[in-house]
Symmetry: C2
Subunit: 587 residues, 2 copies
């Protein structure tokens, strides 16, 4: 048994760092690396970003005086070293507490965390606000925004830079440049950072100096001594400063250093299966989409798959990206650009298919409305992961229906099975009248029969089974839930409920809804997302002037945070049994 006390054991707050010498700090870094690798391999989580930030984090906390000095993390999926140093070490060293802390900064956990963040490109704007608040109230603290090179491609970060540059008081922007976004970084900013790295920070045209920042470059981003020297130089600056640090994503874990993308985030025990043969995945909506795109490209269609920096979510691996060539583009973490560009492509003969996660479609409302919908550009947008989940508060996917479905002109479709999905996708790509969004379900279903629907006839719901008394309208991924409810209604109450697959989120089939009035007392809507502003409320409004009772099922207007799905289903009455109970009360 090794009874030697480790350096990490001495760390309970950033103050404990300040009495250590450089040798101890270096040992600490390696100890932190070890616990992070072990912890993340157990629970899953962001891997490469955290390994790359250990030395920078130690040096920041050595030089600055958090929480008086304020460090704002961008995305904050690189904050594990920060959590270890700010009183939350046990969440990484004690396996029983591995799940105690979130994977993002969380003010409720520690005063060292300023904001709950998880979307990208926000740290500079938030920091300019902290700086302005400080200046208004006579504070003197340092404000530090940490941002990765990938996050610098997002509009809010660039708006933030434009403002930070003229702040005329203390603000320190640390650019953590590991030459990677989640996949390869993109665009002119990526190229200029490369040029700066290749020339030790000295280039003909310095982007940051052009904006008005004082600029510092440190190539050795894992050298704690030099990091401390660099941060010491800028501490208490009275003007806006950029500290550009070259780090290595995945530092200290060789496979992650060599192939960064698959180690951005790993599954539990992911490191134990590095040499396993690739698993043959069953068919899913990712493979269907990729196959469709590939087939159409091979047929000579001017299709182009677009992603905003998350190709992995859709299974767009390197092989696929290479094969697609010009028919694939990653615009960086820049959803506004993605939608604007898609609109332009559609207006000039191309066939854009933009793939985006529900949570991140939030980053581009106005482009959906103005660039796309107002211009009726026939682009196709595929929204993935839409639905209630046990996700972090920062990555909820319950808001896309209220966001998208209330914008005029957009046709938002909710397939319930493979056959419908393929038909909808193909219709969307081949039409020229509408911006079309498709809510891609998480889990695949099959109807077993070809979908012959003409989707150019908008807002036509599908009557799946005509019954009476109760009509169940199950939207998209909740159609199967409606089927379950129908079965229970029959067995428990001998009710032959009507079953409807609405398919269209953005409109109402008035004819069908009116016909239900003849022999139905209750209409039930089921949607996998927020009730407020959602699909069901449109049905409630429709029946407002009639005797029809309407029950809307979906999620409440709230930010849940890693709440287990079954708990949410109980809370929202979304189990089939609870739905039946609520119906029963009304009968």
């Amino acid at each position: 048994m090794n009874t030697t006390q480790k350096i990490i054991d001495k760390i309970n707050s950033p103050q404990d760092l300040k009495v250590m010498d450089i040798n101890e700090l270096n040992i600490l870094a390696e100890e932190m690396r070890e616990v992070i690798i072990k912890k993340v391999n157990t629970t899953g989580g962001h891997f490469g970003p955290n390994l790359g930030m250990i030395e920078t984090t130690i040096a920041m906390h050595y030089v600055f005086n958090s929480p008086v000095d304020k460090i704002v993390y961008d995305v904050s999926h690189q904050c594990y070293p920060h959590k270890i140093l700010t009183g939350r070490k046990e969440g990484f060293t004690n396996s029983e507490k591995y799940l105690t802390y979130t994977g993002y900064t969380a003010p409720e956990e520690s005063s060292h965390d300023l904001f709950k963040v998880g979307h990208t490109s926000t740290s500079i704007s938030l920091a300019t606000g902290l700086a302005k608040g400080r200046d208004l109230t006579g504070g003197k603290e340092n404000i530090i925004a940490l941002i990765g090179d990938g996050s610098l491609t997002g509009g809010e970060a660039l708006e933030g830079l434009n403002n930070a540059a003229v702040l005329n008081s203390n603000i320190i922007i640390v650019v953590n440049d590991n030459d990677m976004s989640i996949a390869e970084n993109q665009g002119g900013i990526c190229n200029l950072l490369t040029e700066l790295r290749n020339n030790n920070g000295k280039v003909k045209n310095n982007f940051f100096e052009a904006l008005g920042f004082e600029y510092f470059y440190l190539g050795e981003g894992h050298n704690i001594q030099k990091l401390i020297e660099t941060f010491s130089k800028v501490k208490d600056t009275n003007h806006p400063v950029i500290v550009h640090i070259h780090t290595q994503k995945g530092k200290g874990f060789k496979p992650a250093e060599e192939d960064k993308e698959p180690f951005h985030w790993i599954l539990p025990n992911g490191l134990d299966h590095l040499n396993d043969a690739p698993i043959q995945m069953p068919e899913d909506y990712n493979s269907l989409t990729k196959d469709y795109i590939e087939q159409k490209v091979n047929e000579g269609e001017p299709i182009i798959a677009i992603t905003a920096a998350t190709p992995g979510v859709f299974g767009f691996d390197k092989d696929f990206r290479n094969k697609m060539g010009n028919h694939y583009i990653d615009v960086g973490i820049a959803e506004q650009q993605a939608v604007g560009m898609a609109s332009g492509i559609a207006k000039n003969g191309g066939k854009p298919i933009l793939c985006v996660m529900s949570s991140f479609i939030q980053r581009t409302y106005d482009q959906l409305s103005q660039d796309l919908a107002l211009n009726n550009s026939p682009a196709t947008i595929l929204v993935y992961w839409g639905g209630i989940s046990g996700a972090d508060a920062t990555h909820l996917c319950t808001f896309d229906i209220p966001l998208i479905a209330n914008i005029p002109n957009i046709v938002y479709l909710a397939p319930t099975c493979k056959e419908e999905y393929i038909k909808m996708l193909d219709w969307s790509v081949n039409q020229n009248e509408h911006p079309v969004v498709i809510r891609v379900p998480m889990c695949i279903s099959y109807s077993g029969c070809e979908d012959l629907t003409d989707y150019s006839i908008l807002n036509k719901f599908k009557m799946v089974e005509q019954g009476k008394d109760v009509a169940l309208i199950g939207l998209g991924s909740f159609f199967d839930k409606a089927k379950e409810v129908k079965t229970i209604l029959k067995t428990k109450l001998n009710i032959d409920a009507t079953l409807i697959n609405p398919k269209f989120i953005t409109g109402i089939d008035s004819e069908m809804l009116n016909s239900l009035k003849q022999n139905h007392k209750i209409v039930v809507t089921l949607e996998d997302g927020e009730l407020d502003g959602g699909f069901g409320e449109k049905i409630s409004r429709f029946y407002g002037n009639s005797d029809m009772k309407v029950l809307n099922f979906g999620s409440y207007k709230e930010f849940t945070d890693r709440t287990p799905l079954n708990e949410l289903y109980e809370r929202y009455h979304l189990t089939s049994e609870l739905i039946v109970k609520d119906i029963e009360k009304l009968l």
Copy 2:
């Protein structure tokens, strides 16, 4: 009678320019200037931006081959010269046709207009899409994005630049730099453009070259000969190019050259009243807000008024801005930054009050959700102009309720009169629990009695008059309409309707709504905005399981385009008489 044919008379399409010599083009510019001044002074409209773009537009159409070559305007409020040259001259020369064409690019008017735009910072993204569509389909045309220096401060434009820089094919971005946004331009980008102008395009750190563009500078932005030479150099380029042109906003109309901000947009006959004594404006929500801010600042409160480049909309004139000093900030056309910064300020002891037009709050959904609401930052946002109007399709203000009110944690308030507004504003500024948005009505009303409401008790509606059978819930600016309906119901049908002022847009007063079930048959909601995803639907959902009939009044989900308000009120059944008729049908 002057029978000499003018040069402008010969212009029916850009082709007609190409046979003219430089002398004729110069005369044409002056003739266009004359008709624009006369026309805009008659109808009102964007003045300075169009006077500044005449020569550039002539030169662009001389060199490029529109509509094969594609010119994308940003905001497009500088497109009058373009309209004159592309077959729509009569809309400017013939006073009877002054209202024929919109003030923005409009594809339905001409194939020379690519997109309907009116919000800012979109042209580069849209142009990258056109370029990508061209490259996918084997086209060869030039793609030109025109963008002003002010619009370059917006996130979508910066995301667009990052992508355009690496396009590896033809794209020409014309930066129309008149050293002004609507008010003064802001930020690091503004400073670097100034440096470029002051040094004839030659500086140590060229921002555009840093991103990877080939860069051309032309200081003489009103010299048609030089403009033609410059555009000729970049025509058919095979790589991304910036053409940075220094122009003068308001060129050729001396008062507008000397004081640019008041001439950005002028009222009908605005030029005829330049020397009138300033009109003493009656009290309005602008003056109330300014007075409140000024008073609190004078009392030493760390208040800061924030605008995203539209200070004039809120009456933040130069005098006010100067007086406020550090207590005022214009972040540029950068609503994402505005919200992120407001959140940061609120988290560090400041009291931010962000003022923004309803149409432009659309440019920042994710920051409202993530930077602000998820963090419960106690910032105050004032949304102006929310409501149905005869505005251009690009500037509708009907979508803010669906946008904002379905985000968790935000408290969205709808005052109906001065007294409530001031009480809400003061409560918001002095509390520390919630992000608060207030929908500032267009027209002032007075209740005549002090508002003593404690707004920290959320979602409590105000029972204004307790009646029976019919309950009228009039939200914000439509409360007065509810009062009118009540009066007609009494006189016409002898119904003593209940009158409710809900005040809270983001929540439901379940207790009050339940109590209405006792002796009411119909609940009517009135809101000045889109029904889909709006306030009324929440009430419909609430009553879905009851016998209560609910009628929701508001606007439909559609982009209207300069449709007169009375026509819209007819269409949406929003006159008091039509509302009463609809109620009558249900009785």
